[in-house]
């Protein structure tokens, strides 16, 4: 599949945004973060800006962005529509949490309830994003049960890294956020490894013989192409990164997304001056985000659509 850059940016930015929203909400609900208005304003501001930036970026992928509002209508059947509805719905508790945090609670328990709802909304949105891909039976590398859990784990991982950088700026304890990030990244790493094993060992069961129904006559090989230049289908669905490059990029993704941030998080546990801590945390965020971008690019570039068998024969 052709890597859609606006979608890659969208899922990376909004993933980190939802991850941060989840951890800040959890911090509030469990009493792990101070209720300083400045932290609430900045933290939730960054989280919601990333989410919004991601959503806006995803509309760049559309042929008719001005009609994007129509995408909220088909939540009964479409995961893409559900994602949109869940994303918009999550703004409500997130906004209530922000108001309660910054301006003070007006009703007892208001902030805690909003925090739990924001967590639920974020998780549902991330799950829907994963389901958009994993529900497509036409693309074997996407039609995998591990796709939504990986999306969630990586969002929690990158959001946790953001929290590690953010909390110390407001004099808050970030050790719980570091622990949360370590757990999320390790889980993400294990799931992603399992995912790669799954797609590497998946049998290529859709053949050109079945696609044309001509298998009883022998092997089916393309003779004359239907058109001289690649069409939309070939440009969009025929894109595939060479296996050699993919394996190299998997290593890059593992290094930047898991190894580097984990090493930096461990280093953060040592007693360091505040400035050094902040630098390490920001380095971990940058490394993790670039790692997710590489991972997302590969998610597209390694995925093969069944339609390619009509053009190149063989199996997919």
């Amino acid at each position: 599949m052709h890597p859609a850059y606006s979608v890659i940016v969208f899922t990376t930015a909004s993933g980190a945004g939802y991850g941060l929203l989840i951890w800040l909400s959890a911090g509030v609900a469990l009493g792990l973060v101070p209720r300083t208005p400045a932290l609430g304003f900045t933290g939730l501001g960054i989280a919601l800006s990333l989410v919004t930036l991601g959503l806006l970026s995803s509309t760049l992928h559309l042929g008719r962005p001005e009609r994007a509002w129509r995408a909220f209508s088909q939540w009964r059947s479409s995961w893409l529509s559900r994602e949109g509805v869940a994303a918009v719905a999550t703004y409500l508790p997130a906004g209530a949490l922000g108001l309660g945090w910054v301006f003070g609670e007006t009703m007892p328990g208001q902030v805690t309830t909003a925090a739990w709802l924001a967590i639920a909304g974020s998780l549902v949105t991330l799950w829907c994003t994963g389901k958009i891909y994993s529900s497509l039976t036409t693309i074997r590398a996407w039609n995998q049960p591990l796709v939504p859990p990986v999306y969630i784990a990586l969002a929690l991982g990158t959001g946790g890294l953001l929290a590690c950088a953010l909390l110390p700026m407001f004099g808050a304890d970030a050790r719980w956020a570091a622990a949360a990030s370590v757990v999320s990244l390790v889980v993400g790493w294990v799931l992603k490894r399992r995912y790669w094993t799954a797609i590497d060992s998946a049998a290529r069961t859709h053949t050109a013989e079945a696609a044309t129904g001509l298998g009883h006559l022998g092997t089916v090989r393309p003779l004359d192409p239907p058109h001289t230049q690649p069409n939309y289908v070939m440009r969009e669905m025929g894109y595939q990164v060479a296996r050699r490059h993919a394996l190299k990029l998997r290593k890059v993704a593992v290094g930047l997304l898991f190894l580097m941030p984990l090493a930096l998080l461990i280093w953060l546990l040592a007693p360091l001056p505040a400035f050094a801590q902040l630098t390490l945390a920001i380095a971990a965020v940058l490394s993790g985000v670039i790692g997710v971008l590489v991972e997302r690019w590969l998610f597209f570039a390694e995925a093969e659509h069944v339609v390619v068998v009509y053009y190149r024969g063989g199996a997919a």
Binding site: G63, Q74, G213, L214, G218, E236
Partner: protein, 248 residues
């Protein structure tokens, strides 16, 4: 609404005969011509006069070599939307632009509400949907919905443009939901089949397999007369001259 309707009684579709198709692309070009002006207009092209000309077409004709050695043969293979009964291209659509008509089973894209998210094209295993960069919307075969019910046209023209254009009669149009229809009988007689049935999309369109080869039984006849006879009759010379003139 992108939820699928109850199974429609009427299932309009095509039956494509892989035995008779000669791969002339008349169906594809007539489709492009009709649909550049009808329901699917505009059906735009990119870089039409440049180095990388490509554009949106709703029908594509592949040619395959099938089998090995003396048993091999060429099979021409037109590919377009199969108007599936339970297609995910409809259910994944977030806007309701992609829909299946309850009245006759035709799968359409509403050009006024499609946002061009391309998800439906990802969900189609048959590569039947092509995104129109010029228009920002998704395009697909409409089964010439603007011809088949068009009472301003002569009755023989009320079939999809591809069916009308096919010079070998390899394309048949009709109601595959009616077991007595000509197309249903044809499918039954010739063992028509579905493409990629394992996806469970239940295509309405059917393909007819190439007939068994007969040339194994036939003994090749010796060529009776040399191809280039010397100056024969005046008529022969006249036709030879015509042939030469026309092939210049």
């Amino acid at each position: 609404m992108t939820s699928l309707p109850e199974a429609s009684a009427k299932k309009l579709g095509l039956v494509i005969d892989l035995d008779t198709c000669v791969g002339c692309h008349a169906c594809a070009t007539s489709c492009k011509e009709w649909n550049s002006n009808g329901y699917s207009a505009p059906l735009t092209d990119d870089d039409a006069h440049g180095g990388d000309p490509h554009g949106t077409w709703l029908n594509r004709v592949h040619s395959y070599e099938v089998g090995d050695g003396a048993e091999s043969r060429t099979v021409n293979f037109p590919r377009s939307c199969l108007h599936c009964e339970t297609p995910a291209c409809v259910t994944v659509c977030p806007t309701g632009a992609s829909y299946k008509r309850a009245s006759d089973g035709i799968v359409l894209v509403n050009p006024d509400t499609c946002i061009g998210c391309k998800l439906c094209s990802w969900a189609c295993p048959y590569g039947a949907r092509e995104y129109d960069h010029g228009d920002g919307t998704m395009k697909k075969c409409t089964l010439c919905v603007d011809r088949i019910y068009n009472e301003t046209m002569a009755p023989e023209d009320r079939v999809p443009a591809c069916v009308r254009a096919c010079p070998t009669g390899a394309r048949h149009f009709g109601d595959l939901g009616d077991p007595q229809s000509a197309v249903s009988i044809l499918v039954a007689e010739r063992a028509g089949f579905d493409l990629l049935p394992e996806f469970g999309y239940n295509p309405v369109n059917k393909y007819l397999p190439p007939r068994a080869r007969k040339d194994r039984e036939v003994t090749p006849r010796a060529i009776e007369a040399p191809l280039r006879a010397g100056p024969g009759s005046n008529a022969d010379r006249f036709f030879a001259w015509v042939d030469k003139a026309l092939s210049r």
